[in-house]
């Protein structure tokens, strides 16, 4: 059995390392070794599901996950619904029991998005759950729950309309003591579908000629709002998400194929465009929303 070690911090940055290892791994019997992993966020969890599915799709006979059962992160994964979501993708020893009565601190457990009604169910859930977390933890105004629901609705529709494959979404808040001194909400959405390049190729590749690539496809969708549909009303979703994220002083990054594009901020400096990443399929979106600045700024 070949071993792929998980990073100690399996978050929106650490997942890049794991994706790179997965791309270069020979499909075989594989062990994803997370015994030294001490932190995981929604991007890490969803990315880990994506890596498991990717390895299985490439023909890996078995993909086994091992976490340190004594570490908090194992229980946290259970509370976020990770083990349930990974059924049929990853094998693992008996997972920690889902800690009863503690799910109230989870904003959005890992949720599979495969059809229109999943988005409706998600928004229903957010309307019940998100209000108190957005207002008490992030100190956003009461109206933010609607805007937040709209963001999640649009970003999940991106999976349904463009990926051609099911995906996952999850969200949770964290205390970023060192980097920001405030709470940050991390939203992750990912799928193993055709990616931005694949989605736009038939309609737009011709005009880019030899320049057509993952990065030009991301720029076309993210910056210019292009889609594969001729309908002029399409492509607004991601533009409106960017606008709202900017208003809240947040960050949005979209990784697809071997490139990543981002709207950054002074507290989380993703490069605006990265190329030459490991060529991992699908689209992986991370949104970071900081707690409202108590002094009024963002």
């Amino acid at each position: 059995m070949k071993v792929l070690e998980l990073p100690s911090s399996l978050d929106y940055r650490g997942i890049e390392e794991l994706m790179a290892r997965a791309v270069s791994a020979e499909p075989d019997k594989l062990l994803l070794d997370g015994r030294r992993t001490r932190f995981v966020d929604p991007a890490g969890m969803i990315g880990l599901l994506g890596v498991g599915r990717f390895l299985r799709n490439r023909g890996a006979e078995r993909v086994r996950l091992q976490m340190d059962p004594a570490a908090e992160v194992a229980g946290y994964l259970a509370r976020m619904g990770f083990y349930r979501a990974s059924e049929g993708i990853l094998e693992f020893d008996t997972p920690p029991e889902r800690a009863r009565g503690r799910s109230s601190d989870v904003l959005l457990e890992i949720t599979s998005i495969a059809e229109n009604q999943d988005v409706h169910a998600l928004v229903e859930h957010l309307q019940e759950r998100a209000g108190s977390i957005l207002s008490k933890t992030l100190h956003y105004p009461p109206s933010a729950v609607v805007q937040f629901s709209v963001i999640l609705s649009e970003v999940c529709q991106n999976i349904l309309e463009h990926a051609g494959a099911p995906g996952w979404v999850a969200a949770q808040t964290y205390q970023w003591s060192r980097r920001l001194g405030r709470q940050v909400l991390v939203i992750a959405v990912g799928d193993l579908g055709r990616g931005f390049r694949g989605s736009l190729e038939s309609e737009h590749a011709g005009r880019f000629g030899a320049r057509w690539s993952d990065s030009t496809a991301l720029e076309a969708a993210f910056i210019h709002g292009l889609t594969r549909f001729p309908d002029q009303g399409r492509g607004q979703g991601i533009q409106q998400i960017r606008k709202q994220v900017r208003r809240w002083g947040g960050v949005i990054a979209v990784r697809s194929g071997s490139a990543r594009i981002a709207d950054t901020s002074e507290w989380e400096e993703f490069p605006p465009l990265e190329e030459g990443l490991a060529d991992f399929p699908g689209a992986w979106i991370t949104i970071l929303l900081p707690e409202a600045d108590p002094e009024g700024g963002k």
Binding site: V146, V150, G233
Partner: protein, 221 residues
């Protein structure tokens, strides 16, 4: 409409939330996702098509809690595009929106901007406003008609001239169905005025004796 000059307009109220639960699925209570929006718009269009004569429809969002951009595009923009560009709807149908709350406005404004569309929206305070990327001269003209409610056809030219307003702007507002022009007399009506007239029951002595003769109907599915 007839050769004798009779002209009857129907008012038709559409509760979007009610349509959502009866047309799409009772499970869905929010106007989100493109397929949901498409189903709701088609239900509205279908109801409007059933009205035999000219009609003004009040599309009511007051009980919709969440409206996303995709749904706003399908329900608001595509409905208005159908009117402006001669889509699924007949040329004698007019649409106003009501019950737009602050959190509805942004998606609606975004889709109007995207498609260069105007929408007449009933204001909470009464009266109406014209949403969309309206050029200032057209906005001024629309506002002037909204203020007086109607301008009789024979006086129209002088009325525009006195106010420094342009006939071309009027034509564009009529073409975008932001104003109503009486087909025989050429009177110009604000849609809010029409809606108000139609809200009066036929035969009510307080109803102004002004064509079009209203025939108010409510339907909320």
């Amino acid at each position: 409409m007839s050769d004798s000059g009779d002209f009857q307009l129907d008012a038709f109220a559409v509760d979007v939330r009610a349509l959502l639960s009866t047309t799409v699925a009772s499970l869905y209570s929010h106007l989100i996702t493109r397929p949901t929006g498409r189903a709701v718009r088609m239900a509205i269009e279908s109801q409007l098509e059933e009205i035999p004569g000219p009609a003004i429809s009040m599309v009511d969002f007051s009980s919709v809690a969440v409206l996303d951009y995709s749904c706003a595009d399908e329900v608001v923009a595509k409905l208005l595009l159908g009117l402006r560009d001669g889509g699924a709807l007949r040329s004698d149908v007019f649409v106003c929106f009501r019950g737009l709350q602050s959190f509805h406005r942004e998606p609606v404004e975004a889709v109007l901007e995207r498609h260069s569309l105007y929408a007449v929206v009933e204001a909470d305070s009464g009266g109406a406003e014209l949403m969309g990327p309206v050029p200032a001269p057209e906005g001024a003209l629309w506002g002037a008609v909204e203020e007086v409610g109607q301008v009789p056809g024979p006086r129209l030219e002088g009325w525009l001239r006195e106010r420094g307003l342009e006939g071309a702007d009027l034509e564009h507002l009529v073409a975008s169905r932001s104003l109503f022009r009486h087909p025989f007399r050429g009177d110009i009506y604000a849609l809010s005025e029409l809606a108000e007239l139609l809200a009066e029951r036929p035969g009510d002595p307080s109803t102004p004796e002004t064509p079009p003769e209203p025939n108010a109907r409510d339907q909320t599915s």
